[in-house]
């Protein structure tokens, strides 16, 4: 039976904000009060990034935005478990992970504003740019991990994808290759219950995590709204990969509280009671309760966190609205590494065409 709680779900922080003891405790033994506060700040900031970007879309500044509202714990918990030399291959919703990798805020919205085909330099933050074709990146992560093993390095490739992607051949082929070559790769599935309007029940008749063992890959289900649980299971999987234990599969059971993208209307397919139910499991609220109980949510701390969120939102907005327009001939750049005569000719034709308007004093027909 599929479940969103229960015995097979790793949970170190309950929705009531209390620590739940378990065998995964040792993986987060170093997370003291200050580091808990750090995780809280991360989640508040990425939620604010999400809200600001959504507002920018509503104001016509962005063409589209894929909100991560509700998935902050899954992304921050796992993202903060990674080392700098690990390499992330994500889908398009992992802005929280990109934040952990150190992505520039303007780079996060460059694509969605329509100014460039990608945001950041993958080699600067060790994270590939967002992948829209569902599940394709699971293979890229696996291949990268195979190459890492050829190099004798102990860094790990991490593939992020959603529940919908588990229906794709590429995700399943990736698990075959990862197991066959014992590639140091972690498959991190954020089961957010919905692939646009298709419920996870259409993708899976059993828990998604049940599939991996059939490929010879150990798997774990974790409460995806529990930042400590997500960090613990990711650290375990990374450790396995680094020490030659091969791939792992994590199913983080979470919920997409917003639409699939700003173009989507979830009220057409979702029961409002479901959303209310999940609001009770909000990843930020539960950590706030824990911090509160431990006296770590004092005024100056929350003031500092809110100031940081304000600052980041301001940088995001400023970066967005001041992004320079792309150049007229930039569309031809970087199709090939070396000149391609046919494309060079097309560039030359378009260049002359544009120049003809200038020669005529500007203005098109």
């Amino acid at each position: 039976m599929r479940s969103v709680s229960g015995e097979n779900l790793v949970q170190l922080l309950t929705p009531e904000g209390t620590r739940a003891a378990g065998p995964y405790d040792e993986w987060v033994a170093d997370i003291d009060g200050a580091r808990l506060q750090g995780l809280y700040e991360d989640m508040v900031v990425v939620r604010r990034v999400d809200q600001e970007a959504t507002a920018l879309q509503r104001q016509g500044e962005l063409a589209l935005w894929p909100p991560l509202l509700g998935q902050e714990a899954a992304q921050i918990g796992s993202g903060r478990a990674l080392r700098k030399d690990d390499f992330v291959f994500s889908s398009y919703r992992e802005n929280g992970v990109a934040y952990c990798r150190g992505a520039d805020y303007t780079d996060m919205i460059r694509v969605w504003r329509g100014n460039a085909p990608s945001g950041w330099d993958p080699y600067e933050i060790n994270m590939a740019t967002p992948q829209v074709i569902i599940g394709a990146q699971a293979l890229h992560a696996t291949g990268y991990a195979m190459a890492t093993k050829f190099d004798g390095a102990d860094s790990v490739a991490v593939a992020y994808f959603g529940d919908g992607a588990t229906s794709q051949g590429d995700v399943n082929e990736a698990m075959v290759f990862a197991a066959s070559f014992q590639a140091p790769v972690v498959f991190f599935c954020q089961n957010n219950q919905w692939a646009i309007s298709e419920p996870v029940t259409l993708q899976a008749q059993r828990d998604i995590a049940d599939r991996a063992p059939g490929f010879g890959i150990p798997s774990v289900r974790v409460d995806g709204n529990d930042v400590l649980g997500c960090m613990a299971v990711t650290r375990e999987a990374l450790d396995r990969a680094r020490s030659g234990g091969g791939p792992s599969f994590i199913e983080a059971v979470t919920y997409r509280m917003g639409p699939h993208t700003t173009a989507d209307d979830p009220t057409r397919y979702r029961d409002p009671n479901e959303l209310e139910d999940w609001k009770g499991r909000d990843p930020i609220d539960r950590l706030a309760k824990l911090l509160e109980a431990e006296g770590l949510l004092a005024g100056d701390f929350t003031d500092r966190v809110n100031a940081k969120a304000d600052e980041v939102a301001g940088l995001l907005r400023h970066g967005c609205v001041t992004l320079p327009e792309p150049g007229e001939l930039d569309v031809f750049n970087n199709v090939y590494t070396t000149p391609h005569p046919v494309l060079e000719r097309q560039r030359e034709h378009y260049s002359r065409y544009l120049a003809s308007f200038e020669a005529a004093g500007g203005g098109k027909r």
Binding site: A116, P122, L139, T142, E173, V335, T337, P341
Partner: protein, 336 residues
């Protein structure tokens, strides 16, 4: 200079590329101990190890998709697609990922993949084993598409393809694998640029364009036509994308007549592109509309019917006749 088969020439070229650059890795089905179903990778796993010559599980999308990941980490994967008809499961990775990643990452990530594809018919194979899917890839920006026709080109151009920082589809005419030819292993690779066609036989009356397995047929047709007093210029395209219009234009300006032949179906095929582009560029030099001699717009037929589908010597000569305005079976029809 030594004599070797077309297949051995590719094997030798692969070996040279692997010796030259330790980042070159081969990945494909049955390419290890077996040496590939056509033995093109014979002995390479034994000499370079299983981490350089990777026997892949049977999943074409994964062969391409993991190669993408390897390229992200600085490797130069050479993927073998076992047969032309098996490339379709990998189509998504090739056109959506391999072709676009350099553009998508604004030049930060290079995809120096080589995708080897034994292609074409004429060997009496079962279905899905004789196809000519090259036009799908010509139509995709970001890819280079090569097809070689002889051992020397195969030896040199597979190395050039591997050295190229752009992804290259390398179509090998499988019915030529066992044909022998001279190969100079010390040849200067720079004299085999990836985008240059070659005039195989000079001539003045008609330009006949072919690639892959049909180059030999085109040459045979030119010799047969010579006996009738006709001078046919034969061009081996070698590069299908980009097309070498400099060579094509120079030839058509001289002859005024153009025939293009390929095994692939006519509609939307390479011949259509050559005909349209040459018409645009050389309209006032043409004495006749360009003529296409191609496979029909049908699924590749069963072995005992394939000779009806594949262009042969007589159909090519028939096309040459039409380009010359001579009366034949199709003369009273509009177009091809």
């Amino acid at each position: 200079m030594s004599t070797m088969t077309f297949g051995r020439a590719i094997n030798t070229g692969l070996r040279k590329a692997m010796e030259h650059d330790s980042k070159v890795v081969l990945i494909g089905e049955d390419i290890g101990k077996l040496g590939g179903v056509f033995r093109i990778t014979d002995e390479l796993q034994k000499d370079f190890g299983a981490h350089r010559v990777i026997d892949a599980p049977l999943a074409e999308s994964a062969i391409l998709g993991t190669a993408v990941g390897m390229a992200y980490r600085g490797y130069r994967p050479v993927c073998e697609i076992q047969f032309d008809g098996f490339i379709y499961p990998a189509f998504n990775q090739i056109v959506s990922q391999v072709a676009k990643l350099h553009y998508r990452t604004q030049g930060r990530v290079k995809m120096p993949l080589t995708i080897r594809v034994p292609f074409g018919g004429g060997i009496g194979a079962a279905e899905h084993h004789s196809e000519s899917p090259e036009a799908y890839f010509m139509h995709t920006s970001g890819l280079r598409v090569i097809s070689v026709s002889n051992p020397q080109d195969a030896f040199a151009m597979i190395q050039q393809a591997i050295a190229c920082d752009d992804p290259v589809l390398f179509f090998e005419p499988k019915r030529r694998y066992h044909v022998k030819g001279e190969v100079d292993e010390e040849v200067d690779l720079a004299s085999f640029p990836l985008e240059q066609a070659r005039v195989e036989i000079p001539g003045d009356d008609v330009t006949l364009v072919a690639y892959g397995a049909l180059v030999q047929l085109a040459k045979d047709a030119a010799l047969a036509a010579r006996e009738e007093g006709l001078s046919v210029e034969v061009i081996d395209l070698r590069s299908l994308s980009p097309l070498d219009f400099a060579t094509l234009e120079a030839s058509v300006r001289k002859t005024g007549r153009l025939v293009i032949t390929h095994e692939a179906a006519m509609t939307g095929g390479l011949g259509a592109e050559v005909a349209a582009s040459i018409t645009e560029r050389c309209f006032y030099h043409l004495e006749h509309a360009p003529v296409r001699v191609t496979g029909f717009d049908i699924p590749y037929p069963p072995a005992k019917m394939e000779h009806h589908h594949l262009p042969d010597l007589d159909r090519i000569l028939d096309g040459v006749d039409r380009a010359l305005g001579r009366t034949n079976s199709l003369s009273d029809l509009e177009g091809n």
